[in-house]
Structure formats: C-alpha cells, structure tokens
Symmetry: C2
Subunit: 230 residues, 2 copies
DNA sequence: TCCTTGTCAAGAGCACTGCTCTCGATTTTA
DNA sequence: TAAAATCGAGAGCAGTGCTCTTGACAAGGA
C-alpha cells in the first residue's frame, strides 16, 4: 500500500482515509444528507478549508463513500457466495441473507446507494462497476446452477419479447448459456430482493411484516423457486 | 371548502395551500432535500419568518407534502382500479401501470415517500393511513378475484410458517378469505413492484433494463401469474 | 361604538452550512 | 541551493433553518 513515494504522498493517502472514516462515522449516526464537511474537519482537528485539498466538493466525498459502500456490499455478497454449498439454492439464500445483513448493519450506507438520489447529485461513471458486483454474484450462482443442470422452471415462463431480448443479451454476457426466460426472472428476483430490503429499512413494512425475518426467508425461497432453483 | 368561517380563516387556508403548491413546484425542479423555506417565502413574496405561522418547522411542511404524495399515488391507483375490466388480471396490470406512470411523472414526490427517509425525520402516525391506500387497492383486486374464483396458483406454494401467519392475519382483514399462501405472494409482488419502480427512477437499471417499459410489462405479468392471476 | 384580544407580516439576529480566495510555511523536485 | 508544488490556516461570501421582538390589523364582546 504505502509503497515508496514521498512522505507527503503517504500522509495524503492516510488523511484521505481518515476523512472517509470520519465521514462514515458521522454517516452512521446522523444521516446521509446532514453530512457536514465542517463537522468532519472539526472532528479531525483541522480547518474546514483544508478538507477541500482532499475532496474538491461535498459531492466528491459522497462519491467516494458511495463507491466504498458498493464495494462493501459486493464484498459481503461475494464472500457469502465463496463458501461451499451442496446446492446452489443454499448459495442463493446465503447471498440474500448476507445482503440483508449488511443493509441492516449499515442502513445509512445502504440508503446512500439504494435510496433516493442526492439532490443535484449525478452518479459518476466510476460507481457503475462496483455497483455491478452484487447482481453479478447473483447471476454467477444462477449461471453455475444452469451449467450443472440444477435449474428447472416448473411453469411455462413466456419467452421475452420487445426490447427485452437485446437487453438480456447484455446480462447474458455474465451468465452465458442461461436462457432469456430465466435471466428475466433473475432480474425480477433482483428487484424484489432490494425492494424488500428497502421497504424493511425505510419503514414501509412497519405494522404488517415487521419484523421481517420470516418474510424475508419465505420471499427469498419463493423467488429462488421462481427462477428455477428448487 | 370555504364554508362560512371568518375571512381570516379562509385566507389562512388559502395561503397554506399556496405554500404547499410552491413547495411542490420547488420539489419538482430541485430535490427533496434542497427544499428551502426561504426560497418558498421568496417566491410567495413574503418574509421567511411569516412562513412559520403556517408550518412550525421544515419537517411539518415535509410531512404535509408526504401525506399529499401518498394520497396522490393512492388516488392514481384507485382510479385505475375503478374502471371496468373483464378479468382481474387487467385491473392488476392497469394499477401497476398507473403506479409507474405516477412515479415517473412525479419522481421527487415518489422519492419523498419511497426513497431513503429524511435524516432526523420521523414519519408521524398521520402518514400511515394514506400510505396504506395503494397496497389496499392491490389487495382488493386479489380479494375480489378470489371471491369470483379467478385465482389459481399453478405450483404448490408452501404454507407460511413462523411469525407469518399472524402477520398475514392483519393483511387478511383487508382481503378476507384469501388464503395465506396467496396473501404472502401479494406482499412479495408488492415489494417487487416498488423495488422495480425505485430501481428505474433511481438509475439502478441504466445500462441494462433501461428503458424499462418492456421489462415492467413482463415483470408485472409474471408477478400477477405468480399470485394466481392467470 | 369602543376596546381588548388574538393573529399576522416584517425585520433583526443566531448558529450553521458549502465553498473560495489569499497568505505564509513546508516539502518535493530540478 | 533555488524553483515549484503542496499544504494548513484564516477570513469571508452567500445561503440555510429557526427564534424573538415589534408594530399593524382584524375579530368579537361590552
């Protein structure tokens, strides 16, 4: 990490990390929107203007935090998928559980990436790749399950039409060989998954399915079956 | 509306509406978080402090806007469901389309109610009832379809266990007689629906399923089939 | 009709925010 | 060693939510 380079560059890298750490700390207690550069600089014992040498604007700091959050979530999914499972269904369920677990542990960071976009904030291209890590994990499970002959749809899923075939072709690059009918259902399951997590975290389930443990378990199982993982 | 009452009270009611209208206007262009009381008062030609006579705090204004947004969305769903359909599936699809339509037309108001909760803002009890309008519409369609014998699950959906039975009992009050297995799937479809809308609006689909028209249509159809509306 | 009471907009002011610019001091590079 | 790049500190600007006081006005009872 600190390979060679001048003392200045090492100090800069360290301080950059310290700023992000303080920002994350503040993010956890307050909210995403009330993240204050001045409060961070105060916590770090420096003057607010000095902070702009490391992050040109508040949005740049947010972008860094967003990328870190995507990476952390992707990492959680990947390490859950890395274990050995007898059946791909177990891998699917484990990843789903890990995603929810991470979201519940870091609600504000989850809201940062899957909540409403920050006002006047445009997500830069750099966030696209880390954002793709999580859905890629899900797709790989399905892809591998398909290759090993585990997938079996129990109803006659219709063949996608319209713009869907070419859109699914893009996704098929990650999961080669998987039929479009199944890929479409994976995307549906993906939206269901994060819709469910968001609803739980954002309080939409209060009064009905909250606490959502059993609901989450049942839903992930049924959606796994929905895509052919029985 | 303006029944009787003194001139003062009528003026107050009018100004309250004007403030909300200006806030909505500002909400549409800017974002939810950058909603400024001072900007509103400037637009209305009054001094900022005067605004506090109508809304004690920014949160109170937000609460009013949230309730209005829930009501507008609920209204969109209800009027879509009010038409005559030959088959409940058509009603389901119409309501789903109306929800997406409203969300795409009023993205910031949608984000206000289904996005990340405002930092330090606690949704008051008054928002619960208007928030329930939309899911109730969906449940009524399923309930009526069940009563008329339209519902038919094509796979062997498992019977809900754990805390689910008593949680689904609460929902069953709106859709009496509908089996728990189906109710659970309606909730799953509900989370899928709003997960999909949020993903489209918040830019999570860019690069893959965007534009999402065909995906939305296919997903709503498959989820309708998932709950037994064939 | 007068007059008290309650309501109202206005203005000043506080503490906070993101951000910019300048100024010396320090470090790196040539 | 000298030039160039980088750094933290400080002042300052324009904006924010919110509070408090002041004086004007309308409503309703005597």
């Amino acid at each position: 990490m600190n390979a060679g380079r001048t003392a200045r560059e090492r100090a800069r890298a360290e301080l950059t990390e310290e700023i992000k750490a303080a920002a994350r700390r503040q993010l956890a207690t307050e909210g995403a929107e009330s993240l204050s550069l001045r409060a961070i600089s105060r916590e770090l014992g420096m003057v607010s203007s000095a902070l702009y040498r490391y992050f040109p604007s508040r949005d740049d700091l947010l972008t860094a935090l967003i990328i870190d959050a995507y990476d952390a979530l992707g990492m959680a999914a990947e390490s859950a998928a890395a274990k050995d499972y007898e059946h791909p269904l177990q891998a699917w369920l484990a990843v789903c559980a890990a995603l929810r677990e991470w979201a519940r542990t870091n609600p504000h960071e989850y809201a940062l990436i899957y909540g409403s976009p920050i006002s006047g904030y445009q997500a830069p291209q750099a966030t696209v790749e880390p954002a793709a890590r999580t859905p890629i994990v899900l797709l790989r499970i399905v892809s591998q399950a398909h290759a090993e002959g585990w997938l079996k749809l129990l109803d006659d899923a219709p063949e996608p039409t319209g713009k869907l075939p070419e859109q699914l072709d893009v996704i098929a690059e990650i999961a080669p060989g998987v039929p479009h009918r199944i890929l479409l259902r994976v995307v549906i399951a993906w939206t269901q998954l994060f819709g469910m997590i968001s609803f739980e975290l954002f309080g939409q389930l209060v009064g009905t399915m909250d606490p959502a443990d059993d609901f989450y378990d049942a839903a992930t199982r049924q959606m796994a079956k929905f895509i052919g993982l029985s």
